[in-house]
Symmetry: C2
Subunit: 637 residues, 2 copies
């Protein structure tokens, strides 16, 4: 196959033309009969009319007596009207209004005069305290027009009006075909190197379910045009639309384009968005076929931007746009002029400002969609966003959740996640968002009011003292507070059995040894640089000294997999992976707080968690921590 | 049983104390194992940790060549580095990084030099274009803490990390017991007078489903303490909480209070809210038992205000408060000082103001929950809200939906619903909200900028002319536009077969005849008053002249049920109910528009619908309409 070039078509144009082409080909919602009991959340396909009035009879709306109002003319306190037993009927709420009666007098207003008669001191108004026929809905009234959502109240009203079945929009079935020689099912216990667990289809099926569509996932097809074609033809027979996942680019083994072309029409191949460029918009008859790129983040963006509008067209469902709020960009976001970019951000409400921090942008990083609170949509031909600028953010979460979230930015330690879990167990719905940017990043986040607090463990080389010298240097005159957390053991994390015979820190410079480091600004990196200087190690000669990981578990994972021999990290990470460990020093890991954050309830809960027995138990289990006076306020300025 | 008095306890106090009592009794979420594939929308019961890193191997992130970066040191355009075939490997995206390699050079940067060697003109940086082990998530990392929602992206991440089953919060099962001698199942084809179709349980079950709980509806129990007790005991055995619907007040046949007391504890009986006062908050062991009032509107309010927080406590789910917007109250809302009131309103975005119009307040009017866009929460001890005042409205719909809605306020004609349906069929999601307040109400709504348009048919007695004289009288100097709709036939709607032998309008004064009228301000009422004056009818002598209905179908429904003999209305209503009809006059039914509303797309669509073939076909089917120049602009000022 000749090398193809993808087009770079603007998203809005491509989407509008695609929807118009689908509509011209006959794509439209279809109807089916659905029992009202089963119709919650479905859409009406046809207008629904009441078959019966509700109430269907004139109903007494009070406990009391029913009578003809004419009998009460002129009744007052001084000239009460006497009624004999034959002139009224005792009734309860819901009883039919007896023949000849046109009103109800409530029991509190009925004066019992002994015998069977009563007296009334107020004249009754015709039809008082009567729910007349059709008061709520009259037979023949339209209850809902077409394409409206069936809510619980609608279900109730329909049953009340004698409607037990409606014509609802048929839930479309969307076929999902995954392709790729390297893809293995999620049941695979031990995927080999080069095998990739299939999980995109689950993400897509979940998104489709949230949009009111059903998904049918087909077994993964090998990278082979013939097999893909057979699978696509089968799916087109069985489904209302097909998503062809991966192979949508223009590389050696990308067959989606040619296969879609062989069974139908390709309208667009290549959309000017990032991530998500290698997208194919095609169809066969009235059935949409969409080639979605394989990286999960690209896939999610393409699902949201291009598949969701197609689902709207198939179902007649109205999707409200995500809420948009203003936030301050924490970093400069450079943008290519070529693409419209969708940048996932974490939002934090700190110091009465909403701040947006961009997340790791790799298209394979699906966890960024767990962490993301919103998306910045940077238009094509824009130069991006400068740090400090106000930007519009499309929310992925409720603003109230974001406002309630404790933002933790700084050094990584798994104990932060444990604190988050304790908070959530204490009060379900408590939210804590942590970013691992290293201790120096934590100090800067507090300085720039982008976080409520952050973990730090910074060794001052000159004094050998932890944290305080850094605060004096960087936060002098700022309202920041240090609160004691733990002492933890730092050391060399080493492959189980220590095959390279590492004995001390200086051994990282051994030839043939592969090191893995932490990123610049991390407290552990600073410690590493300090140790290397102390031991006169030429770090340029350490293989892997520039290989950077962002977390202790990241370092341990690489060593456990045999991809590096050793790296500096905390004991709990080594223990988690059952690795060897050479302790090097104890260090102080504390939390730095913006002073005004201490007033927040959720931050107070965080401090309470820090002091809790529960936390101490978890630290004990994780190993390598010493806890003395947690939550103690350390004065430094 | 002695007459009981209900307490009048403030809602917040009652709710907080109830939740505290339930928690003290041991109410808490429970967990169960759930497959990740089935976990969409569920909550984690325990924190979830990654079992495997993702990626689980160092993966090439580009098509190109893999090599050891040290081989490329010093490579520049002028001093390219030559590599022999044994020094690199050709790789595709996703391939494992071969042993001994630490970077990938993308194919675009590889210079083929013939034979099997290549040249590079740029030095490679270690680990470039490699997705390192754990780049996304490292084994042992916490993916989610407890009580967090499983989204599609979370499902994907869990599978990617080797997690195929999680401990999720068990969906609680809520028993719903309906009680009442008069209640019959919704399958009942022809409920007799005094029988009430059971539909509350369906509404409640739908609400519970939306909150993440399952419902079990039990067969309706008669008003009989012993039977109710047996049903309650069975439900308590099978369910996590029980809703006892109706019988929650303190009347003769209200057994809920005594029954709950006989099996457990009643904490509150009577909450200071309207609607919803007769509510019971009780429990047995850790299981909540809530007595919910029988009127559906009261029931929905109590479900929302008191049952939802209980579901939050059983599930650990965080429910975000409804969005609140500001709106201008269209009417004065008087409030009793005694209750906190929940007033359902329809919202309209007209002339760049959000206006809130209170809906019919009857507790039995479930259709008001279909129409409601929001709720005004009027605190206890407040004097209510004056017309024109700005109020806070808790939204039941998206604000964007409300802003897109065409607000039609005025005279009732079923043709308005047909136009709404046409709009929705043309463009699914189009919204039209109509209120039937009569022609004069329509004029006032335009004058006060509360509606975009409204139907009017107002006969000027002096001139015999329709509509224009009224506009000159009430809207002089205002930017309002009249657009032609239809001529329609007004006449007497009469019971099939005309058993009372009615021949002409004057016969409504016959002794023994029962009339049903329209509300004051309705065009049809004005016509009726005009006809009565013309015929010298003493309306005080007409039985039922003050019996008011708000719609033509409402009048027809009452006559069809035999509850009145005749009433003035349009032919299509008579035809809908298969009733007899004596035509009296043709009248002009037009639409009055606020002039600036004509600029709105949705209003333009409305006018387009008015002129459509489709509309003409529907009018023909409904009967009694003549259509000439629909959509024609009538100049009047």
């Amino acid at each position: 196959m000749a090398f193809q070039y993808l087009t770079n078509s603007p998203l809005d144009k491509a989407r509008d033309e695609y929807l118009a082409a689908l509509s011209a080909s006959g794509l439209a919602p279809k109807g089916e009969a659905v029992a009202v009991e089963q119709a919650l959340g479905r859409l009406t396909f046809k207008a629904v009319y009441a078959l019966r009035s509700t109430p269907h009879y004139n109903a007494c709306a009070m406990d009391g007596i029913a009578l003809n109002s004419q009998l009460t003319y002129g009744a007052t306190e001084t000239t009460p009207v006497k009624l004999s037993a034959s002139q009224f009927m005792r009734v309860d709420t819901g009883d039919p209004l007896p023949q000849g009666c046109d009103c109800v007098v409530m029991i509190e207003d009925v004066i019992e005069i002994g015998g069977e008669g009563v007296e009334l001191a107020v004249a009754a108004v015709p039809w008082q305290h009567v729910r007349q026929i059709g008061e709520d809905i009259s037979a023949g009234d339209m209850i809902l027009p077409s394409y409206q959502v069936i809510t619980p109240a609608v279900q109730g009203a329909l049953l009340a009006c004698g409607v037990r079945e409606i014509s609802a929009v048929r839930k479309p079935l969307i076929g999902i075909i995954t392709t790729g020689d390297e893809i293995v099912p999620s049941e695979t216990e031990e995927p080999a190197e080069g095998e990739i667990i299939e999980f995109n289809s689950r993400i897509f099926a979940g998104m489709l379910a949230q949009w009111g569509a059903a998904a049918k996932s087909y077994p993964t097809v090998k990278d082979n045009a013939e097999d893909i074609k057979l699978a696509l033809e089968k799916a087109l027979e069985e489904c209302d639309a097909v998503i062809l996942n991966a192979g949508s680019s223009a590389g050696r083994e990308d067959y989606s384009h040619s296969v879609i072309k062989s069974v139908g029409t390709v309208l667009y191949h290549g959309i000017a968005i990032r991530p998500g460029k290698p997208t194919i918009l095609g169809y066969c008859g009235e059935k949409p076929i969409i080639g979605v790129p394989g990286y999960p983040v690209s896939g999610i963006i393409v699902m949201e931007q291009l598949v969701k509008p197609v689902i709207a067209a198939i179902t007649g469902r109205r999707f409200e746009a995500a809420e948009v709020i203003s936030a301050i960009a924490a970093r400069t976001l450079t943008s290519s002029l070529k693409y419209r970019e969708f940048i996932r951000v974490r939002l934090g409400y700190v110091n009465e400002r909403m701040v947006a921090v961009p997340l790791e942008s790799g298209a394979g990083v699906v966890s960024s969609f767990i962490k993301a609170d919103g998306i910045i949509d940077v238009p094509q031909n824009s130069e991006g966003v400068r740090a400090g600028e106000t930007v519009k953010v499309h929310l992925l979460r409720h603003e109230s959740e974001i406002r309630d979230t404790v933002v933790v930015t700084g050094s990584h330690d798994p104990l932060i996640d444990e604190l988050a879990d304790i908070l959530s167990l204490w009060k379900p719905g408590s939210l804590l968002a942590s970013s691992h940017v290293g201790s120096m990043g934590g100090i800067m986040a507090i300085k720039r009011a982008e976080a409520h607090l952050g973990g730090i463990h910074l060794l001052d080389e000159a004094s050998g003292e932890y944290n305080i010298p850094y605060l004096k240097r960087y936060l002098q005159g700022q309202d920041a507070v240090l609160i004691r957390c733990v002492q933890r053991v730092q050391g060399l994390i080493i492959k189980k059995g220590n095959p390279k015979g590492i004995k001390c820190f200086a051994d990282i410079a051994q030839p043939g040894l592969s090191y893995v480091n932490r990123q610049k600004g991390a407290g552990t990196r600073i410690l590493c640089d300090y140790l290397a200087a102390k031991e006169n190690i030429d770090t340029e000669a350490v293989y892997g000294y520039l290989r950077e990981e962002y977390t202790h578990t990241g370092v341990a994972a690489i060593i456990a997999a045999g991809s590096a021999d050793t790296g500096l990290g905390i004991y709990s990470a080594a223990k988690l992976y059952d690795l060897d460990f050479i302790p090097i020093c104890d260090e102080q890991y504390d939390f730095l707080f913006a002073k005004n954050a201490l007033e927040l309830d959720n931050v107070q809960q965080f401090i309470k968690a820090l002091k809790s027995k529960e936390f101490a138990v978890r630290l004990e289990r994780m190993g390598g921590y010493t806890i003395t006076n947690p939550g103690e306020l350390i004065t430094w300025a």
